[in-house]
């Protein structure tokens, strides 16, 4: 009897311990953790601007003819891969994945977040206008990454060969177990266009900040994509669509040209920015202003062009460096601005034979860029002259925006024969038109561990 009594005490005391354990373990171990399944979660993921809006490719810009490095600065570059990139070497031009600045990985990091949001919305049956908005914005972010990447790691879009040329690895599903295989350039552009078209009706007209895509941003990216593809009428329509929502231009007449960063940026984004994305802050392109402007480029800005002082500063060695950023600091943007939209409209009009309309779009921009007392509006009759002038203006306006590399590629495709030359430590380097090196090498270490095909070398 006594034994039973003791047993009962002992067992009931254990029973008390055991009961309630399940509830005890349900508590979250870290309050800042969560599983992404609500719209708020997906919005929070999208507000991680350092993953979504930042670190767009600088490799194209670093390979372009917007600047040169002195031998001293070239010799002082920390990463050998940066030196190789600058010298158009065919291989080993990417930073090792173990160090910061591997742009392939930065590109796909953003794409993963977009894919997760897109799948998450479907999996969690989220619907309604707000869910649509988030979906549309994720589509735009993804398209922006693919459009950015395809300029760097693939040859220029060429309608003759686009269905054979190697494009981006199209990852449209967050499942990390799907092997990476390269699509064709055609498939890449098809995806970009499809994503943006799907996004347009879902997107809002305005957003809290230009970090979030709007209808104008999607139309702008479509315009950029069609322009590169050579579909000028569509590009024109899209640019005009975008311009219906966003027309703000900063009047350079009102700026302090002596300021270090004359273009005003409220909280680091200027008013001209339609959709904000930022270039990776690379040692070559925007560290310490070692990128110096070739005299031939600087001299394209004639008397009365305010950009001459607002974009450039003479450094202590007498060379000019770029200061015309839209971020109020050294950061460079790669996103859509109203000035780019006007230039796309002008170029497309010129190419489509609408010389008058080309001049009109160009003048709309240039009146804000020129000393208003000295500005003489363009007027064109000949579309060819119009095109030449528009391209010259485009060259002068859109520097250090990650656009020049793809411009060189598409202009050469169309027969412009732009030959790039560099002299480094007394040695001549040349990049002839349509060279295979216009499709920059994919990181070799990645080629080693995946089935991804390297660009022809």
């Amino acid at each position: 009897m006594k034994l039973n009594y003791h047993q009962i005490i002992s067992i009931s005391f254990l029973a008390i311990l055991i009961s309630g354990c399940d509830k005890f373990l349900e508590e979250k171990s870290d309050k800042s953790l969560g599983t992404p399944n609500t719209l708020e979660d997906f919005k929070a993921l999208m507000d991680d601007w350092s993953y979504l809006n930042s670190n767009f490719c600088s490799m194209g810009e670093a390979s372009s003819d917007n600047f040169y490095l002195t031998d001293e600065d070239y010799n002082g570059l920390y990463y050998e891969s940066d030196q190789r990139l600058y010298a158009w070497r065919p291989d080993n031009v990417s930073r090792p994945a173990s160090s910061a600045g591997n742009e392939w990985s930065l590109c796909y990091r953003g794409i993963y977040v977009c894919n997760s949001i897109l799948f998450g919305i479907v999996e969690n049956n989220l619907s309604g206008p707000e869910a649509d908005q988030v979906k549309g914005q994720a589509l735009v972010f993804r398209a922006a990454r693919y459009l950015d990447g395809v300029q760097v790691w693939a040859p220029v879009y060429n309608s003759q060969t686009a269905d054979q040329d190697l494009g981006m690895v199209l990852r449209l599903d967050p499942d990390m177990n799907i092997p990476s295989l390269r699509s064709t350039v055609q498939e890449t552009y098809d995806q970009i266009i499809a994503d943006l078209n799907e996004a347009v009706p879902l997107l809002p007209i305005t957003a809290v900040a230009p970090t979030l895509p709007t209808k104008a941003g999607a139309h702008g990216l479509l315009a950029r994509a069609y322009l590169i593809m050579g579909d000028y009428s569509r590009a024109l329509t899209e640019a005009e669509n975008a311009l219906t929502y966003h027309t703000e231009l900063i009047d350079f007449n009102e700026l302090d040209k002596d300021a270090v960063f004359p273009i005003p940026a409220i909280n680091q984004i200027s008013r001209e920015v339609v959709f904000f994305t930022r270039m990776y802050s690379s040692e070559i392109v925007n560290n310490l202003n070692i990128a110096k402007i070739p005299t031939s480029l600087y001299e394209m800005y004639t008397e009365g062009d305010l950009r001459k002082d607002i974009y450039f500063r003479m450094d202590d060695t007498g060379a000019h460096v770029f200061k015309g950023t839209h971020m109020g600091h050294r950061g460079l943007i790669t996103g859509i601005t109203s000035s780019e939209l006007l230039l796309i409209a002008a170029e497309c009009n010129a190419r489509l034979g609408n010389a008058m309309e080309a001049a009109e779009a160009l003048n709309r921009l240039l009146i804000k860029r020129w000393d208003r007392n000295l500005f003489v509006p363009y007027s064109f009759n000949d579309p060819d002259i119009a095109l030449t002038m528009v391209l010259e203006e485009r060259r002068k306006e859109l520097l250090f925006r990650g656009l020049r590399w793809s411009d060189i590629k598409r202009l050469n495709r169309d027969g412009a024969s732009l030959v790039l030359n560099k002299v480094i430590n007394g040695k001549q380097y040349t990049l002839p038109p349509n060279d295979v090196r216009y499709a920059i090498a994919i990181p070799e270490e990645l080629i080693e561990i995946t089935e991804i095909q390297q660009n022809p070398r």
Binding site: H6, Q7, S10, F13, L14, F24, L25, E26, E27, S29, K31, S32, L33, G34, T35, P36, D41, L45, D48, W49, T70, E72, N75, G76, Y78, E80, S81, R84, A97, N102, W104, R109, G110, I111, V169, R171, M176, N177, S180, V208, A259, V260, F261, N267, Q268, L288, N289, I290, D315, D316, M327, G328, H329, R330, E444, E445, L446, E448, T450, I452
Partner: protein, 1055 residues
């Protein structure tokens, strides 16, 4: 399961009937009249044994009505006592055996078991051995006295304590630290070493499996002193003063000032600094470059520049630090303890005070209070309480050599009058001298005095309260409830007052100057960061323990359940414009970007607000039994399951099972055993299984919320862990075989253990296709590994006369190898990580191994480093360090962690003098030393004294391996040299860890004991294999110095 165990135990109890001739009662004490628990008492010629209880009491039913009782206990000499019918209450005194075996009882944290009856692998450090070292903390003493513990210093500067090598290659590798009954959640430095009674190291699976998943890396159980029943009041006092040498800064391979200036001047001539000199942000340039630039701009004459630069050539920045910054450290320790006990009440109280003043004047103060008591309420019921209170405070001190950024070899921090000199910090001197026309705050950085304005204080208070209720349900069956509460509050305050560089710099950066008007966005004043971490830990355990002897059967079993909750809430905040006199501060607008006063670039004001809330919970069930037959054969087993609230885990991954089985055979007790020279011989074997989940083994993707986006001002989030359906459990199985022995008259005692560890599906970071966008590497089950080792723990009594000499030798041999690697990883660059060796994935090779690029000597013409590319001598560093070299083309050296290690302590005593000398040693491993990295030298001013040995002219390649200075950066060239085999060194060394001398005043009437001691600690390496004059334990980290030698003087007295 527990129900079943109870029934099983109950059946045994009921089935037992005792019959005997006499009932003999008595007490066993030691020479100081302290009672001794767990003494084995046996009737001579009979197999049955009983043991004394905690009060030293025993009861034995004898078979005959007269005869002899045998008393034995490890650490004491065997004693016999005759008995007969009217012998009455016996009092037996045991003499300490000369071999001084420290302890017999091993504590697992769940139970105390006699070591002789355990099957598992335990190593015990007793109080005397533990106290041969002096210091504020506990753990740092262990590697030099304990068995199978090593501090691996090859991977991180703080070192990694390991028990029996590696068990996991990802995740925490620290052993679990248990204080008395529960894992210690607070800062282990809270525990005063003077309260330690013994330390048990649980090495094999049978010993540690009771602790579940957290025991994967071994368990260290710290047992504290407790009061004893039936004891008059006693007091103990220990106090010591420790004076420590200044650190030897000349151990740092600093490049000479002359060399440094030569390099800078040449780079200047070559235009290397042009972009920096001309940059709009006016970044820091060195004083020499500043002078050269001013000379070229005609601001100073070339003669003046040359004179000034020339004067710098003979300066060694270390000199001033040695002379005026570092002072000998001075540590004081006081400890007073009192204890006593009546028949049913025992108590112990102690107070400890430590005050450490380190070489930089930084201080640490700790007060410990402890109240422990046990109350025997009725015969079967006892209640124990233990309250331990800690208050610790630390204050920052002067800036040491490594605390000063941009400290070039030729910089001075004080002038000849001893007044502070500025050194460049963010901008060049000639720039800040005039910039802002006096409208900015002084922008100079004075390392000599800045510490007075930049202080950090930490304050920790910790309460640990423990309640234990034990109730003897039946004879031998004990039910106990153990509850422990711990609350640790850590407050830290970092104040940069208005005269500190940090505050002046931050105010200046945001200052807006337009014409004569000056606006301070960040107000003048101090910047204070405050953070708080509040830990609340609750542990509750219910346990049934059964221990009894029935004739030839001895059973020890425990079973129970435990819940744990550890909750950490933290926050941090920052106050700008802080005025300590009236506690005022300013409101800041964190959402606006302001232009920098120099560059004009926009920046947001840093908002240092964070909130954290981490709550970890565990539920565990455990059981453990041991059955001994005739004192000869023991069988043991244990099982445990754990569940936790780790976020996102699959439910079926929540419960981890662990188990072990073991057996022991006391061979020397067999009738056929006749080895006279080895009177004690015991064989043991155990096998156990454990598993581990990783927090990354989530069933769903998880995200982590972060601070709001500066653009949208809404919360932002980022992926934290990714669902990976291919992840499986990491499991580990360990086999342990051991022999315990004692030679005749205990001249040599010890144990030899062999273990085999199989780790399967070990977690590791594996490089993946980063096109997936997930990350560069991901947690995978990367490898299976096998570890084997031997632990020898030998005590010998070498001389045993008036002059006594004893030796304790701990030797561990450990070897691990990858037996299966699940990934394709053949690129050499994955195996050559410059300073800390990465996990290698080559089957048959150690988990951490040193590989190096093959060296083809310096080019005799140019002095450039040469390696091999596809078998040919090559200087294509991009290919060699990139995809051009595969791992099989590397040179393999061996393990990066010591494979033979241990310690040896020789103790001598003559009359009232005693002397102990402790040595530690590590053998059988390799490390990589640093050398000159030109890219780092040019860009980050990180030089190396090897620069002086570089190749200069043809022929030098015969006497040096240091490449030529080409005055151009090439990160891959430097990576090749740093990863090449000329920089790999053998790590083997022997260290003289401590010498302790004591004198006992035995004839002092008023004291029970009185000892004075002198202790010298960290004496240094007495032999090493490498010729580069590197102490292998102090190789990782820039500016690393060897721990200085400490000298302690103390007294220890007992009343």
């Amino acid at each position: 399961m527990i129900r079943g165990l109870l029934l099983f135990l109950g059946t045994i109890i009921l089935g037992t009937v005792a019959h005997a001739q006499l009932l003999i009662k008595g007490t066993v004490v030691d020479s100081l009249n302290n009672t001794i628990a767990e003494v084995t008492v046996a009737e001579k010629g009979q197999p049955r044994v009983v043991r004394t209880n905690e009060a030293g009491e025993f009861e034995i039913n004898t078979v005959a009505n007269k005869g002899t009782l045998v008393f034995s206990h490890v650490g004491y000499r065997l004693s016999t006592q005759d008995f007969h019918a009217d012998v009455g209450q016996l009092k037996v005194k045991l003499e300490t055996s000369a071999a001084q075996i420290e302890e017999v009882t091993v504590s697992t944290g769940y139970q105390n078991i006699p070591k002789e009856r355990s099957t598992g692998s335990f190593s015990v450090v007793g109080e005397e051995l533990f106290n041969q070292q002096v210091g504020t903390d506990i753990l740092s003493r262990l590697p030099s006295i304990a068995n199978s513990i090593v501090m691996d210093n090859g991977n991180s500067s703080s070192g990694q304590m390991m028990v029996r090598g590696l068990s996991t290659i990802n995740g925490p590798k620290d052993p679990l630290i248990v204080v008395d009954n529960f894992p210690y959640d607070g800062d282990i430095n809270n525990i005063n070493p003077n309260i330690v009674e013994s330390i048990t190291i649980l090495k094999d699976a049978a010993a540690s499996s009771i602790w579940g998943a957290r025991a994967a890396n071994g368990v260290v159980v710290i047992t504290t002193k407790t009061g004893k029943y039936n004891q008059p009041i006693r007091m103990e006092f220990n106090s010591n003063l420790t004076v420590g040498d200044k650190p030897d800064l000349y151990y740092i391979p600093q490049m000479s000032s002359a060399d440094f200036i030569d390099v800078e001047s040449e780079l200047y001539e070559r235009g290397f600094y042009n972009s920096k000199i001309n940059a709009i942000s006016k970044p820091i340039i060195s004083p020499v470059i500043d002078l050269l630039d001013q000379m070229d701009n005609g601001i100073i004459s070339s003669e003046e520049a040359r004179t000034q630069i020339h004067a710098l050539r003979n300066i060694d920045a270390r000199d001033q630090f040695v002379q005026s910054i570092y002072k000998p450290s001075f540590n004081q320790q006081y400890f007073l303890s009192a204890n006593g006990g009546s028949r049913n009440f025992s108590w112990l109280s102690s107070i400890g005070y430590d005050r450490n003043k380190q070489t930089l004047g930084d201080t640490y103060q700790r007060i410990n209070l402890r109240f422990q008591n046990t109350y025997q309420v009725t015969e079967g019921l006892s209640i124990g309480t233990n309250i331990y209170y800690t208050q610790a405070q630390n204050n920052s001190g002067r800036y040491g050599y490594n605390d000063v950024p941009n400290l070039l070899p030729y910089l001075q921090i004080a002038d000849t009058n001893g007044d502070a000199l500025p050194i460049p910090r963010d901008h060049r001197h000639s720039f800040i001298r005039t910039y802002g026309n006096g409208k900015l705050l002084d922008w100079n950085y004075y390392p000599l005095t800045d510490w007075q304005h930049h202080t950090s204080r930490g304050h920790t208070s910790d309460v640990l309260a423990n309640l234990q209720i034990r109730y003897e349900v039946l004879k031998g069956l004990m039910a106990s409830v153990n509850y422990q509460y711990e609350r640790q509050n850590g407050l830290s305050t970092n104040l940069s007052d208005e005269n500190s560089y940090a505050a002046r710099d931050y105010v200046n950066r945001f200052t807006q100057i337009s014409g004569e008007e000056v606006t301070y966005i960040v107000p003048k004043g101090g910047i204070m960061d405050k953070s708080n971490r509040l830990l609340n830990a609750n542990n509750l355990r219910g346990q049934l323990s059964f221990s009894n002897t029935y004739d030839e059967h001895q059973i020890d079993a425990i079973g129970g359940m435990e819940i744990r909750r550890s909750h950490m809430a933290s926050y941090s905040d920052r106050f700008y414009g802080y005025n300590p006199n009236n506690l005022t501060f300013a409101n800041m607008d964190y959402t606006r970007s302001y232009p920098n006063v120099v560059t004009g670039g926009g920046a947001f004001i840093h908002n240092n607000q964070t909130l954290g809330d981490v709550d970890t919970r565990f539920v565990s069930q455990f059981a453990n039994f041991a059955y001994t037959y005739r004192g000869l054969y023991t069988l043991s087993g244990s099982a445990r399951r754990d569940a936790s609230n780790l976020f996102g885990l699959k439910t079926n991954d929540q419960w981890n099972p662990f188990w072990s089985i073991g057996g022991a055979w006391k061979l020397s007790n067999e009738n056929f055993y006749h080895l006279d020279f080895l009177p004690y011989l015991n064989l043991r074997a155990t096998y156990g299984f454990s598993g581990n989940v990783d927090p990354g083994m989530v069933a769903v993707n998880t995200i982590r919320f972060m601070s709001p986006s500066v653009f949208t001002r809404r919360p932002s989030a980022r992926f934290d862990n990714y669902y990976n359906p291919h992840l499986r459990w990491e499991t580990s199985k360990m086999l342990n075989l051991a022999i315990d022995f004692r030679s005749k008259s205990n001249r040599i005692t010890g144990s030899v253990e062999y273990f085999l560890k199989n780790g399967e599906n070990l977690f590791g970071r594996a490089p993946i296709d980063y096109t997936t966008g997930v990350s560069r590497s991901i947690l995978r089950n990367v490898a299976n590994m096998q570890g084997t080792g031997w632990d020898f723990e030998i005590r010998s009594e070498n001389l045993n006369g008036g002059f006594k000499w004893n030796t304790l030798l701990n030797l561990s041999l450990y070897r691990d190898e990858i037996i299966d690697y699940h990934l394709e990883r053949t690129l050499a660059q994955e195996y050559v990580n410059t300073y800390s060796p990465p996990i290698s994935g080559i089957e048959g090779k150690p988990v951490y191994a040193i590989y190096a690029y093959k060296w083809a000597g310096l080019d005799p013409v140019t002095g450039e480093a040469q390696g091999y590319l596809r078998g040919e001598v090559s200087k294509d560093y991009t290919a060699i360090t990139g995809v051009g070299t595969s791992v099989d083309e590397l040179e393999y050296y061996g393990s990066a962690i010591p494979t033979k290690y241990g310690n040896m302590i020789n103790s001598f005593s003559y009359k009232d003098f005693n002397l102990q000398i402790g040595l530690t040693y590590k053998f059988g491993y390799w490390f990589r030393r640093r050398s000159i990295n030109y890219t780092e030298l040019f860009n980050n001013w990180r030089g190396h004294s090897d620069y002086a040995k570089r190749w200069k002219t043809p022929g030098d390649e015969l006497i040096t391996n240091v490449p030529v200075n080409q005055y151009t950066t090439n990160s891959n060239r430097d990576r090749f040299y740093e990863g090449s085999n000329v920089l790999v060194e053998k790590g083997d060394h022997i260290r003289l860890q401590y010498i302790n001398v004591g004198y006992d005043f035995k004839r002092l009437k008023s004291f029970k004991s009185f000892q004075v001691y002198v202790n010298i600690h960290n004496i240094g390496v007495i032999w090493k294999a490498n010729k580069a004059n590197i102490d292998p334990d102090f190789n990782i980290g820039l500016g690393r110095v060897v721990n200085p030698t400490n000298y302690s003087f103390g007294i220890r007295a007992g009343i």
